[in-house]
Subunit: 232 residues, 2 copies
């Protein structure tokens, strides 16, 4: 409950109950979920007024959410034409994985400097949440916790300007994985895999931690043959 980002998402994920917490965030979260799950498939058209009607809010509010989604690279806005769900191509996805791998790997030595029991227990809790989501087969919730885990960890590196880039990579990774996997059944395994990273950190071994995260990133998504290598 300390991660602002996780809070954000919960704020609207819990939308079933209350409905405060910035209207535009609710729209943002809901649309993001539908795009990531493919309910809104690549190339689909999004019309501001339609969304506004659906959520019972004004066009301006939707607009803000759509702009935020375009920041994440989930939609593309064309002036006076409309907003379109972004394509999800394999080449981009692979490059995003590499970028993410590099960012997270390089961050570990910095993370280690600030790694303490507080962060450790927070991350442990997040892993437990992942497991719970996995057991309920809630793929999307699992990715939400996964994102929270990696961003929370990265925050310890204290590189605020880089954070949004990692976030963007994570979103794209997750979207691509969800869109290109016929309901794979190793969800629980995915959650458990995070423990290795935590263990390496607890050990205080920078080299081991770096290797752990690099391995983690390159293996979560069993994309084609070898993701790590330059493709084609």
């Amino acid at each position: 409950m300390t991660n602002e980002n996780l809070d954000k998402q919960q704020g609207s994920t819990t939308a079933s109950g209350r409905r405060s917490a910035k209207r535009s965030l609710t729209v943002y979260d809901d649309l993001q979920r539908e795009i990531m799950l493919g309910v809104l498939p690549p190339m689909a058209t999004i019309v501001e007024m339609e969304i506004a009607e659906r959520f019972g809010c004004s066009q301006s509010t939707v607009r803000e959410a759509l702009i935020a989604l375009s920041n994440d690279g989930l939609v593309e806005r064309r002036s006076h034409r409309g907003t379109f769900v972004a394509d999800a191509r394999a080449d981009d996805a692979h490059e995003m994985i590499r970028i993410r791998r590099d960012i997270e790997s390089r961050s570990m030595v910095r993370v280690l400097r600030r790694f303490g029991s507080l962060l450790r227990s927070e991350l442990s809790e997040t892993i437990e949440n992942m497991k719970a989501a996995a057991m309920q087969d809630d793929v999307y919730q699992l990715t939400l916790y996964d994102r929270a885990f990696h961003l929370n960890l990265f925050d310890a590196a204290d590189l605020p300007s880089v954070r949004p880039m990692l976030q963007r990579c994570l979103i794209h990774n997750h979207r691509f994985k969800i869109l290109n996997s016929g309901s794979q059944r190793d969800l629980y395994e995915t959650a458990v895999r995070h423990e290795a990273i935590l263990d390496a950190l607890a050990e205080g071994n920078a080299k081991k931690a770096t290797a752990a995260i690099a391995h983690h990133v390159t293996t979560i998504a069993e994309f084609g043959p070898d993701i790590t290598e330059e493709d084609i």
Copy 2:
């Protein structure tokens, strides 16, 4: 005049004359310039209504521009509190350079597949524009053309989802460089340096081109001792 991004900027840079071309873009471009040049220093507060008054537009229009700036990581928006110019720290800047180096380096083999005389002449022209800006000591205009050069080149790699990440890196690199250099006088040299990249590409030598861009990125900004290596 083919690059949409360059067009954007010119559209409002030329604002002295006409004033069409999306009001919010004008605000966006002007504020971006002021932030990059330090006119609006890190931590400065930006109030939506003040900007609106200054540009003679409505708060909504400013709002859109500010959201876009926060996407670029140039400002941070805090709910109901205000918008603040983002800090520009060395650690972040260094990591951004590394990310950029990796992205651009890896892209070269893809770029080479599509590199033709049209792109070559476009980039040549951009270099000439850089030289012109350098001779007029217009640092900011130089960075604008530099951005156009690198993005235009990267577009040939056809990795649309990755493009915004590169753009973000470029913006941060330029801002940090401008903010931390007491009017350095090698502007013209900076422009000329791009020719090596073009030459390597024209030669069709992937390895050489990759090395050229990597070298280019790590040397443009003579940050501290060694940018390439992990710092601290």
